[in-house]
Symmetry: none
Subunit: 415 residues, 2 copies
């Protein structure tokens, strides 16, 4: 069962709005085992839309259109699909009644265009619109591609997908198997290295599949299995997850699409009742702001320092001027002093420090992207680590924050 999504609308095509409906529909279809191989966006143009439908039919069993079911002149999807299928449009009585009742209740005079929204393709199954008037269609075709017509406004479209389309497709037996997936998140390892470590697993993947994805300063793997039910899919996924963890477990920090390193680290700190502070130079508060975004952080984070200028490092953190003068502000010694002093002044269990060159210009003869991150942990000797980041000021700062979070994560893993 191969499906293709065709989104209709000039606003989408010109980039004035993003095609979030298409992304959602693809996800929901994947979950019931319907493969989406193509998505197309075309404007409100009858000739080009019909051309797109012909291409779609030639390569897909199910064509799902989104948009163009509304009341205005340029809403033409239903008319074009019906003509293309050689079927007339007929009135859906339930949809018509809903429109009439609305008109009666509000005392509005509805135009003939409103009635247009109650039309459906003859022989199609109607898909009720729970958030609007335009009725959707599921046209099952034994001779060629089947068609689904969905409305464009996201509130209408998503509700129709969930409540009408997916249940109908399941009922029609368009569900071979269950798809289930789990996202694994990694920090401190590049995409190429991770893929290299797992190359045999990835190369021989059939079920589950492993899809790597590089994000800012981290890599995710999406492990997806298909099976007869959720339990079997989970068992398959867990098997592969275990193999991956056996090889690169030290870089793994958590599961989930919406998870983040800051969430994981802050929640570990809260759980273990370890307090944290920071002294930030090049990151200028970005580390503290990032942990500050996690609800509940106030239990472990009293506050900290932004010491951008050298005199602030001296003045706020009492770092001896000789250290900065002799070792340089971007140095192991300064990073260690910053962490040590921040921890002492805020009386926390942990302190991290950031000193480096955000760029674009170099500093003390060191190139943009050179960053020292210090960490002081309880009674241990504080340490600092050297990093080289690239790709501009914003990335250098953001990657520094991720690296600082990762240093805390590593400390918590060891202890």
């Amino acid at each position: 069962m191969n499906a293709e999504i065709v989104a209709v609308g000039t606003e989408l095509l010109l980039g004035q709005i993003a095609n979030t409906n298409g992304a959602y529909l693809a996800q929901k279809l994947a979950e019931i085992g319907v493969n989406v191989y193509y998505q197309t966006v075309v404007g409100d143009n009858p000739k080009r839309l019909e051309g797109v439908l012909k291409v779609a039919e030639s390569r897909s069993d199910l064509v799902l259109t989104i948009g163009g079911l509304g009341p205005t002149e340029d809403d033409l999807t239903k008319q074009i699909v019906a003509r293309h299928l050689g079927e007339p449009l007929v009135t859906d009585q339930a949809a018509k009644t809903k429109i009439d009742e609305y008109a009666a209740r509000t005392g509005k005079n509805l135009t003939p265009n409103n009635a247009k929204q109650a039309l459906k393709i003859q022989h199609a199954i109607s898909l009720t619109n729970h958030n609007g008037f335009a009725v959707g269609d599921l046209y099952l075709n034994q001779q060629g591609a089947s068609y689904v017509l969905l409305p464009g406004p996201p509130a209408e479209c998503l509700m129709m997908i969930d409540r009408e389309l997916i249940p109908q497709l399941k009922k029609q037996g368009h569900q071979n198997h269950v798809f289930s997936s789990r996202v694994m998140r990694f920090i401190g390892i590049g995409e190429s290295k991770l893929v290299d470590d797992l190359s045999d697993l990835i190369d021989h993947q059939t079920n589950p599949t492993i899809a790597p994805y590089a994000k800012m300063a981290e890599v995710t793997l999406r492990v997806t299995a298909s099976a007869v039910d959720e339990d079997h899919a989970e068992t398959l996924i867990q098997g592969v997850v275990n193999q991956i963890l056996a090889r690169d477990g030290q870089y793994f920090y958590g599961y989930g699409d919406d998870n983040s390193l800051a969430d994981v680290v802050v929640n570990q700190l809260i759980e273990r009742q370890l307090s944290v502070t920071a002294a930030e130079s090049l990151t200028a508060g970005e580390f503290q702001s990032t942990i500050g975004n996690v609800p509940g952080v106030s239990a472990v984070f009293p506050g900290g320092f932004v010491t951008y200028a050298n005199q602030a490092k001296h003045h706020l953190l009492s770092i001896p001027q000789t250290v900065i003068d002799n070792q340089g502000v971007v140095s192991e010694a300064t990073a260690i002093w910053m962490a040590k002093q921040a921890k002492a002044k805020m009386k926390t269990d942990i302190a991290v420090s950031f000193t480096g060159v955000a760029g674009p210009d170099e500093l003390e003869g060191q190139p943009a992207g050179t960053v020292w991150i210090g960490i002081a942990y309880r009674d241990e000797e504080p340490k600092a680590y050297l990093y080289h980041f690239t790709n501009g000021r914003q990335q250098v700062r953001a990657r520094s924050v991720m690296a600082g979070l990762d240093l805390i994560r590593q400390k918590l893993t060891v202890h």
Copy 2:
């Protein structure tokens, strides 16, 4: 000149990420008069990608692919387009040097996959990647459709579109008439109020057009004119801009798509040699981090305080405990003390302070979103202002930062 965008990537196809690159590219092409009639998304599958390219060529003069230029096995776009065009892949020397230099600087052993990113299609114009390693291509084809290959990660793709692709297309004369646009940025006024103030201008717009767009805590207007050349377009734009400024000039803070309130404010501070600091509670460093992102800020920003817990306000800023106890931590008095003390301790011309309820829970009986922002400016009596923000922790914090920047902007406008 009809263009088609082909986005490549299974994650896009399956709806795990939205096709924001495609939307952006369509917008930028429209601005130089290149019509996008189709957008297609296809997975990392060689056969299906080649099929999509054949369809695209049959109906478009320019085919722009996004994605699949990375180092992994499933990054195959360049290989497939090159084979399809009958051209070999050759090494782009500048891109290769950049990768080698990175390897040398970081001491990392790069895999052969990394070198793959420096390949370009023979006879193509290279598009430099300012945020990554994968080089892009512009392949001008007299016999058939021309091709553009762009990388998938948004930071790389958007920068390449702006700095490389659009200038190249303009240079190649892929421009029928000139479209020129200017973005005006407003703070402190809502979209509906602004649109209402300008309703007659917006309703009668033909050339230039005025397109409002609401962003987080600000509103932009894009004024777009078409004309025979840039000069004529600019004259048309300036006429409308003047009318808009006459009505709502007090909310206008700057021009440009990539501009930000932080950029404008920091550059004004630098120009006028006024130094700034901050004491942040609920924003936890986000204000300082935001101004810290503007290159050159070190000239006016020595550093500051993150005083998340009450004891930090007392300890780091020497705010009398009685003020916090009697007035509350989320209060006018505390905000004023925070600004006054931060200014005194850092010896700056200006200090802003943030104290409030980020949420999700209430604090001191005050609901999430209640925020006091203080400002101390030179010898003036410090003041604090009350705000009520909505839409969750992240928005409350981000809107607070924007409001703090706007307070500084207003001070600089008066003085």
